[in-house]
């Protein structure tokens, strides 16, 4: 699962693990560049690139104009011409100006040139509700990208995964959207190897083993699912918690195996129900595990309304209570 694990470990938050991964690759690979709004002198609005411009210079860690299409479009040119841009979009909710570039170019240049050109790049974006950020900052729109063949989508839920997956993303020959849950940025620390290691893109993990029902969650929702699993355990329900970690391509086997074992699934995500990645997971389970299902697959999601201004965001988000209720309904179906 993880390669080159050095036993030297340091406690890190998720955002520190991100910085660490960037530092590892900036040191190792002279073609890597960090580009984005406020990533240089300021070290990023979440300090994800803190100290990197000092260490690697303005030429490698570049403050760009406020221009998402410009950042991503220019990175296409850089990538096709030998560089590895690691782009920060300040918040996922502001990626839309770059959507055309990502959809029509980033994801298609390999296909369009039958592999003669490719655009290995990483687009990092903080996302998700729960930190009382202003409007538009808090959306979970991963499904706008998982439906885009040519792109990979990764979303770590822990510091350890964040570092290993980000390094893997930077080394990936194809473009990767790397989603960082703002709510998870500093929610906990974990021992993380100080050296380089990678976690394979496309590999999910079992966060907690269980037998009655499979909970599938990513990003900040893993913690919510774990909390619900604990509460369910008190009621005698054994939950397996699965974090796919990569949202495209999904770890079909891990998911199918778990659901076939438990016969039940509850999917938890912040995005709306309609069009959320949960629907893909329902379809995946339908396709792979129909005969094993003892109950319909349940989804606990953000509601089908825009993510509200922050006074109501806690009401919008899945809570352990909502997940628990869904677990109970599924188990007692």
């Amino acid at each position: 699962m993880a390669t080159n694990i050095n036993q030297k470990m340091t406690d890190m938050t998720l955002v520190q693990a991100v910085t660490d991964a960037l530092r590892v690759k900036l040191r190792e690979d002279g073609t890597t560049l960090v580009l984005g709004e406020d990533v240089g002198k300021n070290g990023g609005v979440f300090r994800a690139t803190d100290g990197l411009q000092e260490e690697f210079g303005e030429d490698r860690v570049v403050d760009t104009p406020l221009s998402e299409a410009g950042i991503v479009g220019t990175s296409v040119g850089l990538a096709v011409n030998g560089y590895k841009p690691i782009v920060e979009i300040q918040f996922l909710g502001f990626i839309y100006p770059a959507y055309e570039q990502i959809m029509t170019h980033v994801a298609r240049i390999r296909m369009r040139t039958m592999g003669a050109y490719s655009v290995p790049m990483v687009i990092r974006a903080p996302y998700g509700a729960g930190i009382r950020a202003p409007e538009i900052h808090s959306d979970s729109t991963e499904a706008l990208f998982t439906q885009m063949p040519g792109l990979k989508v990764v979303c770590p839920s822990s510091p350890y995964d964040a570092k290993g997956l980000l390094i893997a993303a930077i080394e990936d020959p194809d473009p990767v959207l790397f989603l960082e849950s703002m709510r998870s940025y500093r929610s906990s620390k974990e021992a993380v190897p100080t050296d380089k290691y990678t976690i394979e893109i496309g590999e999910g993990k079992i966060v907690r083993e269980g037998t009655d029902v499979t909970l599938i969650a990513w990003g900040a929702m893993v913690a919510v699912a774990e909390k619900a699993a604990l509460e369910a355990a008190e009621k005698g329900i054994s939950c397996e918690v699965l974090d796919p970690r990569t949202l495209y391509p999904l770890d079909r086997e891990l998911i199918a195996t778990s659901v076939q074992k438990t016969g039940r699934a509850v999917i938890v995500h912040e995005a709306h129900a309609m069009g959320g990645l949960g629907t893909d997971l329902v379809a995946l389970i339908n396709d792979t595990s129909f005969l094993y299902l003892k109950a319909p697959v349940a989804r606990v999601t953000g509601f089908d309304v825009p993510v509200p201004l922050f006074a109501l965001e806690d009401h919008y988000m899945p809570t352990p209570a909502r997940v628990l209720k869904s677990i109970e309904q599924t188990v007692h179906f």
């Binding site: 709004e37 406020d38 240089g40 002198k41 300021n42 070290g43 609005v45 403050d63 760009t64 104009p65 406020l66 221009s67 998402e68 299409a69 410009g70 909710g93 502001f94 839309y96 100006p97 009382r132 950020a133 202003p134 409007e135 538009i136 900052h137 129900a273 309609m274 509601f303 089908d304 309304v305 825009p306 509200p308 201004l309 922050f310 006074a311 109501l312 965001e313 009401h315 919008y316 209570a321 909502r322 209720k325």
Partner: protein, 350 residues
Amino acid sequence: METTFPMRRIIGDDGRIVDETMKDLLTAELAWRLYTEMNRIRTFDRKAINLQRQGRLGTYAPFEGQEASQVGSALALEADDWVFPTYRDHGATLTFGADMVKTFLYWNGRVEGCVPSKERHIFPPAVPIATQIPHAVGAAWAEQRRGTQNIAVAYFGDGATSEGDFHEGMNFASVFRAPVILFNQNNGYAISVPIAKQMNSETVAQKAVAYGMPGVRVDGNDAFAVYFAMKDAVSRARSGGGPTLIEAVTWRYGAHTTADDPSKYRDQERSRDKADPLTRIELFMKERGIFDEERAEAMRTKHQEEIEQAVAEMERFSKPDPNDLFDHTYAVMPAEVAQQKADYFTLRGN
């Protein structure tokens, strides 16, 4: 084609008139109006920062330093005009007539803070940078179609000029000769990024050349200069003369937002070296002998009271209502959302 974009000033840092041709227009009444409104919004701004520090308000975007730009521009409007602000333009919207309690509510993450009053056309602050610019153009175009003399103003920052929506909005404004003012507050920074890294052009105003549109550069800390530049542009727009880009060169004294630490990217100690727009007009008024400390004191007291009262009302305001999460997405709620709402309230137990 315009070829130079000198910065227009009417009074200097020391409050003395530098453009003598304007002398007669700088009446005591106007000076007091500008001064009063600037004082009002500065008091609001400082209060908001304090409230945020005390945990009584969410992340807040202060505008101290930009009062002359915001007040000077807003006072040149009429009640039926349209205003499309950003998150940093509540100084302008308050001057234009926005409700102060709602403005506070907005900064507490309350959607109620976005609801315009019946008396003023004020769009909710645009959070995605530059997206409000085409909106203002469209609203202005609608007024033009109806044959009114109303106009629209889009407020935006220096960083916003790098976005495609700035460009597309400018182009539409010029092609359709919409009665719109593109009011840029060049405060030197987009969060941490200084203007020299944002653009290679010496001024924002010259960007108007790309659209065959008049571009005006004005000292944004000179309330008179802003006011009269805006008046000119507004009357051109009202009389069918089309859009104008105004660059008000100003400075944000404080942080980008209360979540920002400006000392990471600039010498914050020296940030106040730029002439204060309030001091400047006060010096002018003193110089002209129209200042009156008693009147000023009364004014300050009045603003303090108004603001304290608005804070009290904001804090008395009813709790956020989860119904509002579900009720306003469509004119008629889709069945699926109705089900989600019902489930939500069932679980909640009411």
